[in-house]
C-alpha cells in the first residue's frame, strides 16, 4: 500500500473509484457480500444525482429532526476558561448543538438518508449495529416512521450499560440482539451484523452508524453528516462574519467529526482536532480506544484503516468510559487525514471526559453525552492557550440522557 507522499490540491475529492482515501478504505468483504456492496454503491450514486431524493431527506431533517441545529455561543464555558488563562487568552467557544436533534444525537442525519436509500432499493428489512445505542435508537426511529422491520445488534456488555436505549429501541418496535462473542461490544456487534447480512442479502439493508465499513459506507455516511459542517459554516459567518479557527469533535468511528470537518477541509486556516478516547491512558495496552494514536494500519470490517491490534494482527478490544467510542478502528478518511497531517488527532481520558461532563452540565445547563464530553475535555485544554479572538466550534453531537446511569455509578450515586 502506498502512502500518499504529496498533498492533494483538494482534500475533498476522495474517495477514488475503488473507495480509497490514499491507501485507506476499500472493499475488503467476503465474496457473498461483494455484489451487494456494489449494488449499494450504484444505488447511492443514483440517489445522489436525483434531486427528489435530496428534497425528501431535507424535508425530514427540517420537520422531523429539527434542523438546522443551533450554533450556541457557550459564554459561561468561555468565561470559565478565560478566568484561568493568561490576560488576552481564552478562545471563544461555540457548540454545534446536534444533541438537540430528534433522538438526541447526530446519528439520525445519516440514518434517514440510508433508510430512504433502502426504500429506493426495495429492501424490506433493516439491520444496524450499535455501541452506545444512539445509532440503534435512530435506526429504530426511522424504521418506525417508514414501517420497516428493524433488528439491532448490540454487544451484551453494551446492552447492560445502556439499558435506557435498549428499552427505547424496543418501544420503537425494534428487535435488539445481544451479541455475546468477543468482548461483547461494538466491534462484535458489527461482526454479527455483517454475518447476519451475508445470510439475508436479498431483502435486507445494513444501515451502518459511522464512517467505517466497506465502500461506499464511509463516503455515504460522511456526505449525510456533512450537513453539520455546512450549517456551521453559514451560522458562523452570520454570527461572527468569518469562518471558525478551530473545530473540535470526538472520534468513535468518526462520523460526527467527518460531518463537521469535511466542508472545511480546503479552508487552510481552519485547524481541526479529532479527540479519541484515551480511556485509562494511551500508554496502557488495551485501556484506551485511540486507534490513530495507539494503533497501526490493517484491515477490519471491510476497510483498511488504523486499528488497535497486537503484533500478530489480532484485533484488540478498545476501552472507553463511553460505549460510543470504544471501537478499535476508525473511519478510513480519518486515517488518510491523519497521515497527511490535515487533522490533528489527540485524546482525552475517561477522567477528563467525566470532569467535562459535569462542568458542562453546571455551566451551560447542557448535559452532554460522554462522547462529546471527550471533545469538550480537549477544548478545556486548548482554549486557554489560544487568544480571545480565536473562534472554536465543538460538536455537541449527543445529549447525556443515556449516560446518566453510568455517570451516577462512577460518582457513587445510587437510584
Amino acid at each position: 500500500m502506498n502512502k500518499p507522499l504529496t498533498r492533494p490540491n483538494t482534500y475533498r475529492s476522495g474517495p477514488d473509484a475503488a473507495g480509497k482515501f490514499g491507501g485507506f478504505g476499500g472493499r475488503y468483504v467476503a465474496e457473498t457480500l461483494m455484489p451487494l456492496i456494489l449494488e449499494v454503491e450504484q444505488a447511492y450514486n443514483a440517489a445522489k444525482a436525483d434531486p427528489t431524493f435530496d428534497a425528501e431527506w431535507r424535508r425530514l431533517l427540517t420537520h422531523y429532526v429539527g434542523r438546522p441545529s443551533p450554533l450556541w455561543y457557550a459564554e459561561r464555558v468561555t468565561e470559565h476558561l478565560r478566568a484561568e488563562a493568561a490576560p488576552g487568552m481564552g478562545a471563544k467557544v461555540y457548540f454545534k448543538r446536534d444533541e438537540l436533534n430528534h433522538t438526541g444525537a447526530h446519528k439520525i442525519n445519516a440514518v434517514l438518508g440510508q433508510i430512504l436509500l433502502a426504500k429506493r432499493m426495495g429492501k424490506k428489512r433493516i439491520i444496524a449495529e450499535t455501541g452506545a445505542g444512539q445509532h440503534g435508537v435512530a435506526t429504530a426511529t426511522a424504521c418506525a416512521l417508514f414501517n420497516l422491520p428493524c433488528t439491532v445488534f448490540m454487544g451484551a456488555t453494551d446492552v447492560a450499560r445502556q439499558q435506557p436505549n435498549v428499552f427505547r429501541m424496543k418501544l420503537l418496535g425494534a428487535e435488539v440482539v445481544a451479541v455475546e462473542s468477543g468482548a461483547a461490544t461494538l466491534k462484535d456487534a458489527m461482526n454479527e451484523a455483517l454475518r447476519h447480512w451475508v445470510a439475508n442479502v436479498e431483502d435486507t439493508y445494513y444501515c451502518i452508524g459511522t464512517v467505517a465499513g466497506p465502500h461506499p459506507y464511509p463516503v455515504m455516511v460522511r456526505d449525510f453528516q456533512s450537513v453539520i459542517g455546512s450549517e456551521t459554516r453559514a451560522q458562523m459567518i452570520e454570527a461572527e462574519g468569518r469562518l471558525p479557527d478551530v473545530l473540535v469533535a470526538a472520534i468513535g468511528g468518526g462520523s460526527n467529526a467527518m460531518g463537521l470537518f469535511h466542508p472545511f477541509l480546503d479552508d487552510a486556516d481552519v485547524r481541526m482536532l479529532g479527540v479519541e478516547a484515551g480511556g485509562h491512558g494511551v500508554d496502557t495496552v488495551t485501556g484506551h480506544a485511540a486507534s490513530l494514536t495507539g494503533g497501526r494500519p490493517g484491515v477490519l470490517h471491510g476497510n483498511r484503516t488504523y486499528l488497535l491490534q497486537d503484533e500478530h494482527g489480532q484485533i484488540l478490544e478498545g476501552h472507553s468510559i463511553s460505549a460510543g467510542l470504544d471501537y478499535p478502528g476508525v473511519g478510513p478518511e480519518h486515517a488518510w487525514l491523519h497521515e497527511l497531517g490535515r487533522v490533528e488527532y489527540v485524546n482525552a481520558t475517561d477522567d477528563e471526559a467525566l470532569a467535562a461532563f459535569q462542568l458542562c452540565s453546571r455551566l451551560e445547563g447542557i448535559i452532554p453525552a460522554l462522547e462529546p464530553a471527550h471533545a469538550l475535555a480537549h477544548v478545556i485544554k486548548v482554549a486557554p492557550t489560544l487568544p480571545e479572538s480565536t473562534l472554536i466550534v465543538m460538536n455537541m453531537c449527543g445529549r447525556g440522557d443515556k449516560d446518566i446511569f453510568t455517570v451516577a455509578r462512577l460518582l457513587g450515586e445510587e437510584f
Binding site: M1, A18, G26, R27, Y28, V29, A30, E31, T32, L33, M34, P35, L36, L38, S181, G182, K187, N191, L194, R195, V198, A199, V201, E202, P297, G298, V299, L300, H301, G302, L307, Q309, E311, H312, G313, Q314, I315
Partner: protein, 287 residues
C-alpha cells in the same frame, strides 16, 4: 486494482501439488474430500495429530484455518474453534510451522490455508507468501480479500507459486463471475449457501444448477463448501463438482470430546479422524 481481475492467470501454479492431485483424482474418476481443521484447536499438539492423521483417514487435500479474532464469514462453531486456537497461542507464523512439520512426513497432500487478511498484512504480505511457499503451503483462501483488493497479495503469491483460491457465492452474478474466476487459481471454492459457515445445509438441487453455470466459465476444478455436513452431502457434492469441503461438522464432533475447560481428551483427535474416514468412504463411493 481491477487489472488483476482481468489479467489471465495460469490454471494452477506450475508444478502445483493441487493441480497434480486433481489430475490424479480425475484419472480415478472421483471427486476430492477436503477436510478442515483450525490451527491450534484445541491445542497445538492435538491439531498437529489431526493434521498428520488426515491423509491416512482419506483427506485428498487439507484446509487449515488460521485463527483470527474477528472471523466475519464464520458461524459460532468456527468462531469458537478460532478462540480456542488463539487461547492456545496460535499465530500465522505458528501455523506455518505446523505445515513445515507436516511436510516432513507428507510431500504430496496439498495444504491450503484459509484465513483473514489482517494477520497476513501484519506478518508482511510478501514475507508471508515466501515463507508459506517455503514450508510447503500450496494455496491460500483469504476470505476478506476480493479480486478488487488482491493487489497487495496476489502478485507475490503468483511469483512464489502459491494458488489463490477464490470463493464464488450464490450471489456472484453473471457479470461478476468472470472477474472472480480470472483472479482464481488452483480450484474454485463454491460457497453452497448464502450465509456464514456451519449454519445451514446446502440444497442439492441448487448445487446441481449452480455448478454447471460456473463450469461454463472455467477449466479449474470446482469444490463445494459451507453447508456440507454429512457423508451423504459430501458424496453428493463430490459427484456434482470436483470436491467437498467439510469444516463445521468436523469441528463440532471434535469439540464434543473436549472437557469442561475446552481441553482435549484422549479421544479428541481420533473422533475427528473417524469422521474424516466416514466422509472419505462416501466421497469415494459417490461415482
Amino acid at each position: 486494482m481491477s487489472a488483476t481481475a482481468t489479467e489471465s492467470r495460469p490454471v494452477a501454479a506450475t508444478g502445483s501439488r493441487i493441480a497434480a492431485r486433481f489430475a490424479a483424482l480425475r484419472a480415478e474418476g472421483r471427486g476430492a474430500l477436503i477436510p478442515f481443521l483450525e490451527a491450534y484447536d484445541p491445542d497445538r499438539a492435538t491439531s498437529m495429530e489431526i493434521l498428520r492423521g488426515m491423509p491416512g483417514a482419506g483427506a485428498d487435500l487439507i484446509e487449515i484455518g488460521v485463527p483470527f479474532t474477528d472471523p466475519m464469514a464464520d458461524g459460532p462453531i468456527i468462531q469458537l474453534a478460532g478462540q480456542r486456537g488463539l487461547k492456545a497461542g496460535a499465530t500465522l507464523g505458528g501455523t506455518l510451522e505446523m505445515v513445515r512439520e507436516f511436510r516432513a512426513g507428507d510431500s504430496e497432500t496439498p495444504v491450503i490455508l484459509m484465513g483473514y487478511l489482517n494477520p497476513v498484512l501484519s506478518y508482511g504480505a510478501e514475507r508471508f507468501v515466501a515463507d508459506a511457499a517455503a514450508v510447503g503451503v500450496d494455496g491460500l483462501i483469504v476470505v476478506d480479500m476480493p479480486p478488487e483488493e488482491a493487489e497487495v497479495l496476489a502478485p507475490h503469491a503468483q511469483a512464489a507459486g502459491l494458488d489463490i483460491i477464490r470463493l464464488v457465492a450464490p450471489t456472484t452474478d453473471a457479470a461478476r463471475l468472470p472477474v472472480v474466476l480470472n483472479a482464481s487459481s488452483g480450484f474454485v471454492y463454491y460457497v453452497a449457501i448464502t450465509g456464514i459457515t456451519g449454519t445451514r445445509s446446502a440444497d442439492p438441487e441448487a448445487l446441481e444448477a449452480a455448478i454447471p453455470r460456473i463450469r461454463a466459465h472455467t477449466d479449474l476444478p470446482i469444490c463445494i463448501g459451507f453447508g456440507v455436513r454429512t457423508p451423504e452431502q459430501a458424496g453428493h457434492a463430490a459427484r456434482v463438482s470436483d470436491g467437498a469441503v467439510v469444516a463445521s461438522a468436523l469441528i463440532e464432533t471434535m469439540s464434543r470430546t473436549l472437557d469442561g475447560e475446552g481441553r482435549a481428551t484422549p479421544g479428541t483427535a481420533q473422533a475427528m479422524l473417524d469422521q474424516v474416514r466416514a466422509l472419505a468412504a462416501a466421497v469415494r463411493g459417490a461415482r
